[in-house]
Subunit: 340 residues, 2 copies
């Protein structure tokens, strides 16, 4: 494709202006607002080429141009540098996050911060259980036939389940169970626990086998299936900002619906990596209901490990460099906080 430097420059100008004004941009306005060094006629020729190549399009025959998803993609990949955040912004992020008292608080603050800074809908995934390891298991007798099973992970997550036992158990027995569980499981990654847990019931004393067996089944459930992933969401009201353009079409419904479906949102973080942000623009989204939006996501965690994902959902018409920078910065700070 024959896109020389000036044509790329024109595309960049179109994207920037459109993002800023939310209105189709014409050749004349372009030469006025950017020092392209050529006349509007030349720009028009360039635009014709860009349109032919599918990077921009005209909403109406005689209107200005608007970037296509493909145009945004090119812009993100080759025409923009990630904006470094201002020291003031960095300080704001830090100040906002340091007060957090526990994991819940960190996640909540992070998601609100992200929504506020990007003025978009923010999503933060709680540290994934599968990627954490067991720090401690606790058994709390609630009544003679009931135990509370508490699991603490190294990412600070605490999961608890009430276990109905087949019969009454002694305090001593519980102490022994607790000891065994911890000896077997502490330090083990959650994904690796199932076989170990299975082994426990086989090696249990005959008289404690029934108890151990119920305990183990609940444990497995907690470890692997239930509540596996949790999410925090904020900034939904920013959707209303998407512009009366899209509001009238009723395109809002499906987006709100998608945002309520945890399962759908979790897909966004399927293959997040730390550091690099992933950008999905419009049609590139696997989630059909989000085809009208762009998603910027990244992983976070202490050091280079990834324990969860976070990101934002907004109109394709968004400030990519700024948003990417913000998402990455918040992710890095949250990662640091998890390292205590």
């Amino acid at each position: 494709m024959g896109l020389d430097d000036r044509k790329l420059e024109v595309l960049r100008a179109i994207v920037e202006d459109y993002v800023a004004t939310q209105e189709p941009v014409g050749s004349k306005a372009l030469v006025e607002r950017h020092a392209l060094g050529v006349s509007s006629a030349t720009v028009r020729n360039d635009m014709a080429v860009l349109e032919e190549e599918g990077y921009i399009r005209q909403p109406h025959t005689s209107a200005g141009r608007v970037p296509t998803d493909r145009g945004y993609r090119l812009f993100v990949d080759r025409l923009s540098r990630v904006k470094p955040l201002s020291p003031a912004e960095r300080r704001a992020i830090e100040r906002f996050l340091v007060g957090a008292v526990d994991l819940d608080d960190v996640v909540h603050r992070a998601v609100r911060l992200l929504a506020q800074l990007t003025r978009q809908v923010a999503v933060v995934q709680y540290p994934s259980l599968t990627r954490s390891s067991v720090r401690h298991l606790e058994l709390v007798p609630v009544s003679t036939t009931r135990l509370l099973l508490v699991m603490i992970t190294d990412t600070g997550r605490v999961e608890q389940r009430v276990v109905e036992l087949p019969g009454p158990v002694e305090i001593d027995e519980i102490t022994e169970l607790r000891r065994t569980l911890n000896a077997t499981l502490v330090g083990v990654k959650l994904v690796d626990t199932p076989p170990l847990v299975q082994g426990l019931v086989e090696r249990a004393e005959p008289q404690g086998k029934a108890t151990m067996s119920t305990l183990v089944s609940v444990l497995l459930e907690t470890l692997v299936e239930r509540h596996e992933e949790r999410l925090a969401l904020a900034g939904t009201s920013n959707l209303a900002r998407m512009g009366p353009l899209d509001l009238t079409t009723g395109a809002l419904r499906p987006i709100l619906e998608a945002l309520e479906e945890e399962v759908i949102l979790l897909k966004l973080f399927d293959e997040v990596k730390s550091g690099a942000a992933r950008v999905r623009i419009g049609d590139e989204n696997e989630v059909v209901d989000l085809r009208a939006t762009s998603v910027v996501s990244t992983g976070y965690g202490p050091g280079a490990t990834v324990v969860g994902g976070m990101g934002i959902v907004g109109p394709t018409r968004m400030d990519y460099p700024g948003t990417i920078a913000t998402v990455r910065a918040v992710a890095r700070y949250v990662g640091e906080m998890l390292g205590h």
Copy 2:
């Protein structure tokens, strides 16, 4: 005020038709759809009176009538019976709730159910800590100078906090602490705990005083201040249903914003009572941003006690009898479930 039976009947008909069609209702359409036994001219006269009294109004000089907030109020208070739910609906509610495995799950299911049945935005408050009592306290050593404090309430809520101790403590000491805490606090209502907790630090052994003191301050925080109230929200996408009428005005933003502010939502449950549902129509809302909506709320809890609130937020133009019935029914079922 001289509102005879027929005028009230006319008001009821207007409310019902407007709720159903979402369009201003005229005198002619009214006599056609309802067997009022009089002509449209008579209805017009009645309407004139109703308008003078402030129960209905005309959006435009030559359009049909629309109920005012005051009109809805009269309708709710005197013109409608609560619709009993169909057995099918009852069964649906029950089936949806019985599968719940823990408190989190109950609340989540309840809020989704409510949103689905009413097709509105649903809010459920977690059982309030202040109204619960302590079932058990557990101390879990995480390292030599760190404890995890877990509190279980009789409503099934589990709160946990990590406590940084001033110095290392022995296992025996922890066992003793646990014993003391439980002996003092189990069965006590959370609101009544602070004085008891204060007493603990005074009566502590000299060498354990520092430990007890940090523990107590965290405990107080957990008991009284932090995370005091939590909420679950669902059905936000139903807001988009409020009709293109309101969408265009941009009235959506403030509502979405209000829904994100937990503090604001909690106000809705300030004085909920079990059994009776409270209805706030339009202007009656203390929360300014919700003046364009109506709120139906009620309390729930085992038996006649109230441990939390739930409700829905929707357009003033809503099916009040149906919504009230649904909210009350879900609240009753959830209350039953909490009684185990």
